[in-house]
Amino acid sequence: MKNILEINNVTKFYKNSVKALENVNLNIKEGEIFALLGPNGAGKSTLINSICGIVNFNTGTIKINNMDIVKNYRITRKMTGIVPQELNLESFETVWNNVNYSRGLFGKRPDHNYIEKLLKQLSLWDKKDSKIKELSGGMKRRVLIAKALSHQPKLLFLDEPTASVDVELRKDMWDVVKKLNEDGVTIILTTHYIEEAEELSDRVAVINDGKIILVDEKDKLIKKLGEKTIKIELFEPIEKINGNLSKYNFTLDQTNKIISHTYNLNSNTTDITELLNDVKKDGYEIKDINTEQSSLEEIFIKLIKENNNELVRN
């Protein structure tokens, strides 16, 4: 699939000489949902803001649809929308004016039907005449999304779209994002909620200390780095793990009935058939079997830890 966004060797220093991005290379495919993960201060917002023209980057090139975003900013910016991390809104304006204003800024002729549809889709229609200051945090976040979508962009950046949004609304927001994606919008989001990346994204990148330390398909990533745990529930409690079972690093839970073994999917060290045979050979009756795969969050924490150790070592 064709790349809608190509980032080549982008480096960014802030004025106080903080190096926020270092040689960032990243390609985003048209139509995907891409999640950018990383701890506070990793450079996620800086990267997004550089692509959208909100901050100037120092070196490297960024292309959208094969057009340089500096040279062809008139074309590329019309194609992008951004929802910023902070709730930056003018308090005394109405929702309606605010969203129509955004569309105007991006050089599109007024289209009240589209804006109406958009506000309805984001459950903001009944608030259209309210002033921003009269809205809750979650509503403000949705106004920002409406503003970002007001000019029908092909590429949407969501910088922590569900911060300060309650659980139920978060699910709604995910549906909105999925719907947009189905309608053909490529989406790049940053988040601290791993389950969000897990739920939404096709691919993820992990960024730490201004550098991209990993890019992969979400499923592959989970598989590649993912550990799986097999939990075997027995009919009878077991005193101690011995016999054939001592081959495996089983752990025993408090009820003495569930034994668990953690293994890595791709390292082929554990033969599950053999493991189950061994359980049977030792005379245990299996009541239930359950496997759990490590979440993106665990993978993510592991990666950052390794990366930080490496940084300390160097």
């Binding site: 802030y14 004025k15 803001n49 959208c52 023209g53 909100i54 901050v55 100037n56 900013y73 008139r74 074309i75 910016r77 019309k78 992008t80 951004i82 910023p84 902070e86 930056n88 809104l89 003018e90 005394f92 004016n97 204003y101 955004s102 569309r103 105007g104 800024l105 991006f106 050089g107 599109k108 002729r109 007024p110 503003k147």
Partner: protein
């Protein structure tokens, strides 16, 4: 050109003016009236005429200039500083707008507000004194050019200010004294020779003088120098803004 974008900024700014129409207009009207009471009546009873013009009428152009200058600066500086302060500027930066278009939207709106206020003052002044306008086109020329020029000046302040106090400093410390000392309420011919020479260093004097000429055909300096002065300040502001933008400085990190 992104006309829809320029229009969006312009309308957005004018909308703020409309929302606060009462405050926006009340303050210049009240100030003008006070000037008439204080200067027109109190001083006017001593100085009846300057250059053959009734004192109350004589000060009208200066008063308009005083208001236009302060309003253009404060409107434009606030209009551009405010989104920087609230961070809503992100949207303008992310939009397909050139620096020129951004300036056009903001400065256009600030200058329009000043023009409206200027016209309101002329109407208010009419209640107190006779206001004659000998050269209406020339008057409009000066009014529009001054509004635009000082809106540009205000825009620069809005770009550089690091806080709301910063917006006030230059108008209070520099512009207001220059306007008062620039012959808004008197002719420099009334000053001792030494102070006349000093006054000639004040650019605002030239603006007021030219503007007053368009009303009553009386002036302290020639019309040509007045026009040259305003054009010089205008071009100076444009160069400065272009330079600041070209450095990518001040609004983008």
């Amino acid at each position: 050109m992104n006309w829809y974008g320029i229009k969006a900024i312009y309308i957005h700014e004018m909308e703020r003016f409309r929302r606060t129409l009462f405050q926006s207009l009340a303050s210049p009207i009240i100030t003008t009236s006070l000037y008439f009471v204080v200067f027109g009546s109190a001083i006017g009873s001593r100085i009846t005429e300057i250059d053959g013009i009734n004192y109350g009428s004589y000060i009208v152009p200066g008063m308009i200039m005083l208001t236009i200058l302060t309003q253009s600066i404060s409107n434009a500086s606030f209009a551009f500083y405010f989104p920087r302060f609230t961070n809503t500027i992100y949207e303008i930066l992310a939009a397909p707008l050139s620096s020129f278009e951004i300036v056009l939207g903001f400065v256009g709106a600030a200058a329009s507000k000043s023009l409206i206020i200027g016209c309101v003052i002329i109407l208010t002044a009419n209640f107190f004194v006779d206001v004659r306008i000998d050269h209406p086109l020339l008057m409009m020329f000066f009014l529009i050019l001054t509004s635009i020029t000082f809106a540009l000046f205000g825009f620069i302040i809005g770009m550089y200010a690091e806080g709301f106090e910063g917006l006030q400093i230059i108008p209070i410390l520099i512009i207001t004294p220059l306007v008062f000392l620039g012959g808004s309420f008197y002719s420099i011919n009334m000053l001792p020779e030494f102070w006349q020479k000093i006054s000639l260093l004040n650019p605002v004097l030239y603006l007021i003088s030219g503007f007053r000429y368009s009303f009553y055909e009386v002036s302290d300096v020639s019309l040509f120098t007045s026009t040259l002065t305003i054009l010089t300040i205008l071009i100076g502001c444009i160069i400065f803004i272009t330079y600041t933008f070209s450095k990518g400085y001040r609004i983008k990190d």
